[in-house]
Symmetry: C2
Subunit: 510 residues, 2 copies
């Protein structure tokens, strides 16, 4: 069966799921869910000596669902540590629902092979684990969910977390947990906050047990069952990767310059506008260009959103941005700012981008700048599979913010390693073309025909404007058309759209 | 049938409710509930012109449940305004579940008579409305709930709010609401926060519509359906009643002095201790005495909790208190501090005192000082009915904090207007004697025999120590024993203990 953007979805993976029918197709009321909790009395002690004890006290059993967050990025020790202990306890057949998985989690391969983990839902997969999964490691397809989609799934019960194991840079003995005031700080705990609210059992794992009450806290004691202190929750260098470096790559700088011109000429660049930019070289450079233009035109932004980086923090401190909404800090500047700046707000992933609450902050975005591994002539974007068809990325907030923002700009070079990035049909659709307004490349820009109003706005702009087909042909004339990737029939991952419908599947590479 | 403290509960009011069997009797797991919500898309407009429009858009119908908060105290215009409009729309048979009701809400009498309001659950009732209800105005008994008990009831579905009408001193067009930055500020919106999380529909009513995003916010946009701007949500003078005045009443000062000595000699007064004191003359004076002693002994408090007053704010700013947890601000000092002081934390009523979450902050209280209208020789406390049997108070956080704190002190004069406050059996039990450790009066103190350890601690203290029976007899020897109040059989109110069991009933006065 085909969904509304023409992607073939095999019948056997559909089950009771719906097929994607458009970004805002779903209209119905949502019955939210809630956890079953064990009341905690005044005399109760939450502090346990070992993770093993916590697993046992939580009653973790075969077939249950466990969650983790990815705020420690490539520095994370928590997920591997906990799953190793679960495996030693002989518990099997678990569903793993972290907010995302990184290179550091390749030891999970072993626990998939030995039957400890049999299902996974995640925003992304990288490295060896991603490769093995693309090669058919798991029987059940992985479910790829966006950050907003994961919050939605947790809030409506599609994901039911039995036990959340949440690493925290600091915590007190009663469960007040923070991303600050520890040995390896991550700043916002935005993805973990939702798990703490909806999991039946919540275990905080920390290497900095601090004086009660550990305030302000990201996760509050009244949502926490147990606290375990360990030697180390992660490698500080991997958790917050130092200062952000500005790109000197001329291609990236040109893309950033074009992107800034697109934004400043779009009609959305005015006092009180809001924006989200990513962490790629071009995206960071966009922030720098915008900053200059904001100063020149005396424009202040209402808010900056998303994964937070140094340029945003600087603009907040300069008064160029009034508010930062931070679901995830990307560098030390963000980590240091959140505890210090009153208008730097920690947000959870539902507030960030859940399509099925009463209005996420992404709904109020004017401009978002997003990257792409590939984009096709229908403007569909792939950020999850590489040119070899292997999973190598994450859905993240891509389809969430793209759907919501008034102006969604994709920045990408036209070619990566002699492989074209503009194609007839992307390997995998994460974000549907209907959400994309402008593609910006080093050769020039292409405007989605759905946004003819922008063609009018960009008259007189000193950037080459093409149709996306023209851009594609230009690129193909340089590097040719690569052979199609050969896939097996086996589905290794289902890509969920933020509303829970299936937008695409990823098949086993041959 | 009698409950465990011997109060007779008529069979017809029990239904499926349980009878009180002890402060921490309930052990079972709790299945929390969650609202049904209508997702809000980016283009959606939440700002409506009138309350009438909001009522209609929320689909309010006969038989539904509506909620309000009491943070505007005697200054509140919102509840009367909304119920008047509901009445004009012809909607009947509603259950009214405000966090509390005050003198200002006497116009509800009319709407009970005309069938608009047929059931009420509240922390308290005062003035004309309380009198009429005590005289049998309603067919259904009112349910009196503590602040923690109300949060519990909302979280487990005993109270299902269809529409919450929440007044906010400031709000933006997308529903980010705050108790600050308006015309009449109330500071913490602690009781309203829970309603916003659990009501199917949430309407914010404000008289200060401010620029988006109104941050930091007490209630977030992703929990709000509609926003209505009105001329005035309340009388600022009634909302925050200016500066707190210290008592000069010698009896109150003596009680406060005795109380301070009880606390400082109890063994709980040490570095890192925590406390809650109320707003009565004696309670406020206690804070002042404690402050001097803390300075002298170089003791710092970990946190102060509860309804927040000027003395606590001063101690926070002096560094004598490290954290304030604020579910409700009682004066302008509290209102002004919450937005300014990083360690002055707004908390919701579940975090405050819900017995059935994973650990409320009341659980961590060392010392609480509470008042009483009456206390009996079993140490049971009445804070809800006057000496004439008429409702004239509120359950508040009384039984919540009394149950949780390591040291619960009741401060009361022995006599009010020639009526003894120490009696054989209180008119109405709100807090069971098992939760009370020490009674402090102007004549001396009485220690609950359950706390023989304290008798040891208080050896050498220069306060007269009596048994509670001795104190009662002393008082009776002065003013005699008043005649018993004459009641009808009709139950006008059920007093719920914080865990949802029935601790007492209030009958119609003859």
């Amino acid at each position: 069966m085909k969904n509304s953007i023409g992607r073939e979805i095999p019948k056997e993976v559909i089950n009771e799921r719906s097929l994607f029918q458009g970004a805002f197709f779903k209209e119905e009321e949502i019955k939210k869910v809630a956890p079953i909790i064990k009341p905690v009395k005044p005399s109760h002690n939450k502090l346990l000596s070992t993770i093993e004890e916590a697993i046992i006290k939580c009653g973790l059993k075969d077939g249950m669902t466990i969650s983790f967050h990815h705020h420690f990025r490539e520095g994370d020790y928590v997920l591997n540590m906990v799953v190793d202990i679960i495996a030693k306890l002989g518990i099997k057949n678990l569903t793993l629902v972290p907010s995302s998985l990184n290179n550091v989690h390749s030891s999970i391969i072993e626990h998939i092979k030995n039957g400890v983990i049999t299902k996974i839902s995640t925003s992304g997969l990288r490295g060896k684990l991603a490769e093995e999964i693309s090669n058919g490691l798991m029987e059940e397809p992985v479910i790829i969910r966006s950050h907003g989609g994961r919050a939605r799934a947790i809030e409506n019960g599609d994901i039911k977390i039995d036990v959340a194991f949440l690493g925290a840079p600091s915590c007190d003995e009663y469960g007040n947990a923070s991303g600050s005031r520890g040995k390896g700080n991550c700043g916002s705990l935005g993805y973990a906050k939702i798990d703490a609210l909806y999991a039946d059992k919540v275990v905080i794992i920390t290497d900095s047990l601090v004086e009660f009450p550990n305030m302000p806290a990201s996760i509050l004691q009244n949502n926490v069952d147990y606290v375990v202190q360990v030697n180390s929750i992660g490698d500080p260098a991997g958790i917050a990767s130092g200062a952000t470096r500005y790109t000197k790559n001329p291609k990236e700088l040109l893309i950033a310059e074009y992107c800034s011109k697109v934004i400043t000429n779009s009609g959305y660049f005015k006092d009180g506008f809001s924006f989200q930019t990513g962490t790629g070289g071009s995206s960071l450079a966009v922030s720098r260009f915008l900053r200059e233009e904001m100063k020149k035109q005396e424009i202040k932004a209402s808010f900056a959103l998303g994964g937070i980086t140094k340029p945003m923090v600087e603009m907040l401190e300069e008064g160029l941005i009034k508010n930062i909404f931070d679901v995830q800090g990307f560098d030390l500047s963000a980590v240091n700012s959140i505890d210090k700046n009153l208008m730097h707000h920690e947000i959870d992933s539902s507030f960030y981008a859940n399509p099925h609450n009463k209005g996420c902050i992404a709904n109020k975005l004017d401009v978002v700048v997003l990257s792409a591994l590939e984009i096709d002539t229908d403007f569909n974007v792939n950020v999850i599979t590489g040119s070899d068809g292997v999973v190598r990325g994450a859905s993240g907030g891509h389809c969430d913010t793209a759907a919501c923002a008034k102006l969604t700009v994709i920045v990408t070079p036209t070619i990566r390693g002699r492989i074209p990035c503009i194609v007839d049909a992307v390997n995998t659709v994460v974000t549907p073309g209907e959400s994309i307004d402008v593609l910006v490349t080093e050769l020039g820009i292409a405007i989605n025909p759905r946004r003819n109003d922008l063609i009018e706005k960009f008259k007189g702009i000193d950037i080459p404007i093409y149709t996306i087909n023209e851009l594609k042909e230009k690129v193909e004339s340089i590097v040719g058309i690569p052979d199609n990737i050969q896939y097996d029939d086996k589905v290794v991952a289902i890509v969920e759209y933020r509303d829970g419908s299936i937008i695409d599947v990823i098949k086993k590479v041959k």
